[in-house]
Amino acid sequence: MPEKDDSTEAILLQRLRGGEKGAFEQLVRQYHAPMQRFARAIIGEAQAEEVVQEAWMSAIRHLQGFEGRSSLKSWLFAIVGNEAKGRLRKDKREVQLDTSDDGAMFADKRFAADGHWSRPPTQWHDETPEALLSHEDLVQCLESHLQCLPPQQRTALLMRDIERMSFDDICNILQVSTSNVRVLIHRARVKIFTMIEHFEETGRC
């Protein structure tokens, strides 16, 4: 993940390996909440806490083996992802790739048979993220729409747009191809686009 500063991370790792107490505090403060968010997206609220606890233990046990080929965060996320998937398998709830083309609805509603827009996008009143996020109703609406996304779309969108992970990292953790990840992310974004557009047109969620 390019936004992480490699040298700070290397220093943190060194301090962790040296067993410095403050380093563990920093590690937990920095990554616990994102790890929980990520676990919830994969496995749901009920088991997320346990998955993250297990992932932390596993991470500390394998800390010496971490070679820094990926960022610390994607390494931790990969561990969370594996824990969560192991548990889903045990419960016989496989991570299913949602292959139904639920994007087809957008295509049908908005395009004519000749491929042109039949209902083109309208101009929005708000043209910056700040302006959009200043509407409390819209923020609430966004939250509930993120909740309602199919789990895989939500996880992919969370990893890419919210956690800003690279496609490679996302594919590794979700164990799906880049093209699948790209489709998942696009469908999720189009749903959020449709929601914001509706809000801009009607002022309602």
């Binding site: 909440a33 932390w56 233990m57 800390l63 996008p121 043209e127 993220p129 959009l132 909740q147």
Partner: protein, 96 residues
């Protein structure tokens, strides 16, 4: 020639994520030059991405702010785990 449907349904996110090869990228750019609707769509999709990037507290819609005491206790546990491990093994050399 790329249709609006192709662009919006198949290429728009790949375009803004920089995931298209140069040929496809050129086709998208040419289409955007002549199509105001698709220009709007791509701009709005970029705005969606920016909104999401700003909203890293949103995704579960619930209040999950972990309390400081819990975080401290977790980090102490991990610290102890690490300590007990390094006592049982010789301190390894830096592997980087």
């Amino acid at each position: 020639m790329l249709s609006c449907h192709d662009l919006a349904h198949h290429h728009a996110s790949d375009y803004i994520d920089g995931q298209l090869g140069w040929r496809e990228r050129l086709r998208v750019r040419l289409h955007l030059l002549i199509c105001v609707h698709c220009r709007h769509f791509v701009q709005q999709l970029q705005l969606v991405r920016k909104v999401l990037r700003r909203s890293d507290n949103l995704p579960d819609g619930t209040d999950h702010e972990p309390d400081q005491a819990a975080l401290r206790s977790l980090s102490e546990q991990l610290h102890q785990l690490h300590d007990s491990q390094s006592q049982s093994t010789t301190p390894p050399a830096d592997d980087r």
